[in-house]
Symmetry: C2
Subunit: 444 residues, 2 copies
C-alpha cells in the first residue's frame, strides 16, 4: 500500500465515550452486576430500538431535552434517537398492553442519546440502567419501599460501603407549596435543590425574589433544614399542623415507605428522608429518590428516580402508575475512574489462563486448553511465533493471571508448571489441579 | 384524563425488531451464551458508539450498503449509523493502535443499522456478534484453524447438534480464476454461490454468458462439484496440476487449517471443505467460513466470516491482517422462532421463585426473600392486593417455576410449602431446603 495515500483520521463523533479494553472490562463488570441484581429481584428484560418514530418519541414536546434530540429523516419517515429509556417504556407498555402481565417489572440497560454541549462526564451517547414497576390502574406503596432495597443491593454489589439513599415525597412539597401559596413551584424547587451549595441567607433571598413571602420562606426553610432521623423529620412536619390533603397524603405515604423499608433489610445508615430532594422532572408525583456516595458528594446523585401516576398518557387511556430508578452508568463510570475512586489498572483480557504451546506439542496443548475450557475457565492459546519473553510479555501486558508453557516434557508427563503472573510463583500441577488452583484464586 | 384526548398510536419504526418478555429472555440467553463462549477463548470486549462520523464510516464508499446507511446532520457534523461492526473495528484499531496489544482478540456484540427494504427476517436494526483476531504485520494461519473450534463451541453451547462449518480459501478460487483466464471474478463467484439452488446445466449457461470459456467452465465445475472428504477434495485439486502461485498457496493454507482443526477438537462431521463457498465481501483474501444447520439448510449460513489481509487500510499504513466471524443474532433468532426450531414457550420472567406474603407476615416474608436472594436465586415478592388465585395466576402467566405463600404458620415454624408450578407438587421445606431444591431444579 502506498504511503502517500491520504488516510482518513480515525476518530469518533465529539462528546461520545469509547473505552479501551481495561476500562471496558471493568465497565462491563459493573453493568453485569447491575443486571444480575435487577434479575435477583425478578425484573424482566426489555430491549427497544434506539430510534423511535419522531412523532411518537416527541409526543410530549418542549423543553431543553427536545432541542438535544438527534432527529432525522430516512426516506419519508422522521426518526428520533431515544433520549432516555422512560419514553420508550411508556410506548412499549401502551403498545403491548394486552400481552403484558401487571405489575410489570421491567429492566432495561441500553444506550440513550442527547446532543448536549460537550463537557466532562456528560456524553452524547450514554448507558442508562433502569428498572420500573408498572401497575395496571393501581400500584401498592410497598413497591416504593422495595426500590431502596434494590438500590442498596446494587451499590453493595458494586463494592460501595458508604452511601445514602435520600427520599422525599413530591406530595409533601406540593401540598406545602399550596398551603404556603407558593405559585412558581418549578422555580422554588430549583432553588431548594441548591440547598447544599448555597447558604440559608442566599436561599432566603432567592426565595423572596421568586415571589415567596417572608413568612412562607421561613416556614419552608425551617421544615427543609430540620435535622434529625427520618422519623423525627416526619414528626417535625406534623407539628406544623398544615391543613392540606396532598401534604397529609405525602406524609402518610412517606410513613408507609419508612415502615416497610426496615423489613426490606436496608440498614438505617443507608437511607434518610431529605425534604430538599425535589427531582427536576415534573412527572414524579410521589416518592422520589436520590443516592449519594457519602465520601464523594460532589458527584451528585448516582441513582435517582421516583413514583409517577401515569406512565403512558400520551399513548393510551389506561392508567399506569409506576415507580422506577435509573443509574446513568456512563457518567458514573467516568466519575469513578476520572476521580480515581475505582482503579482501572485491572486486566485487559477476559482470559484467566494463557497456554504457550511449543511447536511439537501443539496438539497436546490444544487438547489441554479444551479440557480446561470445559471447566469454565477462560483460556487463550498463544499462536504467534517469537521468543518466550515476547510471549510472556503479551500475557503480562494483558494482565492474564496464569500462564502455562507446554513442551515435550509436559506432553509426556501431563504435568505443568503453572505460573502465577502476579506473584511469579510457579506450581507443579496436572490439568485438574490447574483448574482448581485457578478457580480458587479467581473466585476466592 | 379526558377520553377525548387524541392519543398517539404507539408503534416502532418500520422494519425494526422488538421482542416481548418471553422472547427477550430467550434472546438474551442466546446472546449470553455467545458472549461467554467468546470469553472462554479469551476474547476482549469492545463497545463503540452506534454512530460514527460519516466521512470516517464511509471512507470506502460505494455499493449497496452505502445506500442503506442511516446518515444525518447534527449541527455541522454529518453522522452515520454503523452498518456492521467491522468498519468500527478498523477505525478502533487504527485510532488506538499504540494502546492495544497484538494479536488483538476482540469481541463485539452490538446493534448495527441498514435501511433495507422490509422483508421477513431482515431488520433495519439488528444484533451482530463478532469476533476478530487482528495481527500487527502478520497473523499465524493457526488462528484460521481456531475459528472453527469457536464456531463449534458456540453452536454446541446454543444447543445445536447437527451443523456443518463449510470452509474454503479465496486464494484457491482467485488462483483458479487467473489460471482459467476468468475476468469477471465477482460475477462468476456470484454464479458459483448459486450451486445449491440451480442445476449444473443452468450454472454452465450462466458461466458461458459471463464470458467463461466452455473448457474453463468444465474445469471449474468439475473442481467445485467434486464430492469427497475434505482431504480428498484437496487431493483432487492437486490432480489438475494448475500452475498458479496463488492457487498453490491457497491449497497449502487450507491444508494447514485442516491439519490443525483436528487438534482443536472439532469433530469431522462438523466441518468440511466446500469450494463453492465464496462469500460476497471482497475484503476476504484467504480462508472463508459459512455455517449451515444441517436440518434447516434453507436458513442459509448462521455464522460466516474469513481471513483478510488488511483491516484498516483507509485509516492507517499499518498492515493489520485478521480473521473473524459474525453471527447475525437478530436474523438467526427470527428464523429459529418463526420456523419453530426453538420454542418461545419458556418463562416471561427472570424470577425463579415468587413469594406471596400474607398481610401480617410481610416482614418475615421480606426477610426470607433477602436470605434466598443471597444464595443467588432470583426472587420476586408479590405485593399487590387480591385473592390468592389472582396471585397464583400471575406466577403462572409469567412462568415462575416456584411459589411460596407465607402466612402466620410459616412465620412461626420457619417451614414453607414450596409449590412447583409445573408439576403442582408441594414440598415441605425450610429456607435452606428451598434454596437447594430450586438450585437443583434449575441447574440440574
Amino acid at each position: 500500500m502506498s504511503k502517500d495515500k491520504g488516510y482518513i483520521v480515525p476518530s469518533i463523533p465529539q462528546g461520545m465515550q469509547e473505552l479501551l479494553p481495561k476500562e471496558q472490562i471493568l465497565f462491563n463488570k459493573m453493568m453485569d452486576t447491575i443486571k444480575s441484581t435487577y434479575e435477583l429481584f425478578g425484573f424482566i428484560p426489555v430491549d427497544t430500538p434506539v430510534m423511535e418514530k419522531a412523532e411518537v418519541l416527541l409526543a410530549k414536546s418542549g423543553g431543553d431535552t427536545e432541542k438535544q434530540v438527534y432527529r432525522f429523516f430516512k426516506g419519508d419517515h422522521e426518526l428520533a434517537m431515544r433520549f432516555d429509556l422512560t419514553v420508550p417504556l411508556a410506548r412499549f407498555v401502551a403498545q403491548h398492553f394486552g400481552e403484558l402481565t401487571f405489575p410489570f417489572r421491567r429492566y432495561h440497560i441500553g444506550k440513550a442519546y442527547r446532543g448536549e454541549r460537550p463537557q466532562k462526564g456528560r456524553f452524547r451517547e450514554f448507558y442508562q440502567c433502569d428498572i420500573d414497576i408498572i401497575g395496571n390502574g393501581a400500584l401498592s406503596i410497598i413497591n416504593d419501599a422495595e426500590i431502596p432495597s434494590i438500590i442498596y443491593t446494587v451499590f453493595k454489589a458494586l463494592g460501595f460501603e458508604s452511601f445514602t439513599i435520600k427520599m422525599n415525597n413530591r406530595k409533601i412539597l406540593n401540598g406545602l407549596f399550596a398551603y404556603l401559596e407558593i405559585i412558581d413551584k418549578v422555580e422554588v424547587m430549583r432553588i431548594i435543590d441548591k440547598i447544599d451549595k448555597v447558604g440559608i441567607d442566599v436561599l432566603k433571598n432567592m426565595l423572596n425574589e421568586a415571589g415567596v413571602s417572608e413568612k412562607a420562606a421561613e416556614t419552608l426553610l425551617s421544615i427543609i433544614t430540620f435535622n434529625g432521623s427520618s422519623e423525627e423529620i416526619l414528626q417535625n412536619l406534623e407539628k406544623f399542623d398544615i391543613e392540606n390533603d396532598v401534604f397529609q397524603t405525602g406524609i402518610r405515604e412517606m410513613q408507609e415507605v419508612l415502615k416497610y423499608i426496615n423489613s426490606f433489610g436496608v440498614p438505617k445508615e443507608n437511607y434518610t428522608v431529605d425534604l430538599s430532594i425535589a427531582r427536576g422532572l415534573d412527572y414524579y408525583t410521589g416518592t422520589v429518590y436520590e443516592t449519594i456516595l457519602n465520601d464523594y458528594p460532589s458527584i451528585g446523585s448516582v441513582c435517582s428516580g421516583g413514583r409517577y401516576d401515569n406512565l403512558a398518557q400520551n399513548y393510551t387511556d389506561k392508567e399506569l402508575p409506576g415507580v422506577g430508578i435509573s443509574i446513568g452508568l456512563s457518567r458514573l463510570f467516568y466519575q469513578l475512574t476520572a476521580g480515581k475512586i475505582i482503579s482501572t489498572d485491572g486486566p485487559a483480557s477476559t482470559a484467566q489462563l494463557m497456554i504457550i504451546p511449543m511447536e511439537d506439542s501443539r496438539e497436546f496443548a490444544l487438547g489441554t486448553a479444551t479440557k480446561i475450557r470445559q471447566s469454565g475457565i477462560n483460556t487463550e492459546v498463544y499462536f504467534s511465533d517469537g521468543k518466550i519473553n515476547k510471549k510472556m510479555s503479551y500475557a503480562n501486558k494483558l494482565g492474564i493471571p496464569f500462564v502455562i508453557v507446554i513442551g515435550e516434557n509436559e506432553k509426556n508427563t501431563g504435568r505443568f508448571s503453572l505460573k502465577n503472573m502476579l506473584s511469579g510463583e510457579q506450581t507443579d500441577a496436572d490439568a485438574d489441579e490447574v483448574i482448581s488452583i485457578i478457580k480458587g484464586e479467581t473466585n476466592g
